[in-house]
């Protein structure tokens, strides 16, 4: 069964949201969905760019009223 795993990278400058995502995704199962929380506006740009490069899927992106980005990424391979 595919699972949704939360990766809470709010307030993370180093390693930062994208590195947290890469770390978790690498050890996830194909088909798993990760929900990345980020307080860094840069994530709305660099996460989709990396996801596209590697061939995973960005299912959707939301910004909540507190200004936190929620990026849902599915592991494809």
């Amino acid at each position: 069964m595919a699972e949704t795993t939360l990766v809470d990278a709010r307030g993370s400058f180093c390693p930062g949201p994208l590195m947290e995502l890469i770390t978790t995704l690498k050890r996830a199962q194909v088909g798993d969905v990760l929900e990345l929380l980020s307080s860094d506006a840069g994530s709305a740009k660099d996460v989709p760019e990396w996801v596209r490069k590697v061939g995973h899927v960005l299912e959707r992106t939301e910004r909540d009223p507190a200004g936190v980005w929620h990026l849902f990424v599915r592991k494809e391979k």
Partner: protein, 379 residues
Amino acid sequence: MRIVVVGGGMAGTIFANNVARRLASELRAGKARITMLTASDKHVYQPGWLYVAMGRMTPDELEREQASLLDPAIALHVDPVRTFALADRHVVTASGRTHEYDLLVIATGSRPVPEEIPGLKEAAIHCYSAEDALHFYDRLADFTGGRILITVGLPHKCPMIPLEITFAMHDFLHDKGLSDKTEFYYTYPIGRAHSLENVARWASPEFERLGIRQETFFNLKEVDPANGLARSEEGAEVKFDLLVTVPPHRGQAVIEANKLGANGFIPTDRYSLRMVGEHADSVIVLGDTTNLPISKAGSTAHFEAEAAAENVAALVKTGRAVRQYDGKVFCFIEAGKDRATYAMFDYTHPPQPKAPNAAMHAFKMAYNKLYWASARGLL
């Protein structure tokens, strides 16, 4: 209160000494007890391995007897934990002894796992143990020219190592007159030269100035040692003559075996440093072992240990915690053999690194010695 500290590294040692100092009279009166369970009778200053890899220090300079660093009121057992029975509030060690606690502090650190990337362990050199750092120096000293590829695995401890090892090798080979024969090829997992934006903004032009090639969005997938070829998840193929890696890490196997956290990292509350879940009232997690999205660094371990120690002492004395950990990290950045800068940040403030200078390098070299006072709780 019976306090059991598992792990005698940076976080465990600084925490235990700090609490022992704060609770000196309670310890004397038998109202509190601190026990440390660790895996080695030696305490190692791991940041020194960078200098071992460059032939500038030897491993014996980086070790002290663990017992010599601890407040005499702390009961030390070199007897690693095998079983964490959190529901029953006890741990069982390799020798079969059971230690009951009211408060457990887990600080077992993290370990490199280059074997998780096919071909990496066979092909690459790194500086994540004393033995590996010595081997690194052997290979670097014998290097006569060619392409040096630097790859960075995730997660890893010490976020500055990718930059530091590259600058350090650059200066080393420059001094040997090998600059013209050497091509540096630095890679990094995300779209810039370092996770910290302001650090990347400084490091990239510095690399350009030194003629160091950079490729971003490079996550190593596999290495073909026979042909000297590295392939990335992103589809790049790079040839190398010498492969230098910052290996991916995991927490200790014992953490995974006891199902305390995926990949050996324990879910931890970012402010209270309590283990997330049903054991929050009796378990604190410090240092590399947490799953917090902050740097796995000695300074993180140090600041967390201080915050936790102040809270535990207050709990014993007044019944209430008094502090939250604010995510503070301070990292020196060696920018070559004789200049350095630093990055200081927390959960809400990004770092503003300054241009490297000789004074900051001198400070780092002094800190390499002052560390022992810091571990003892004197600094």
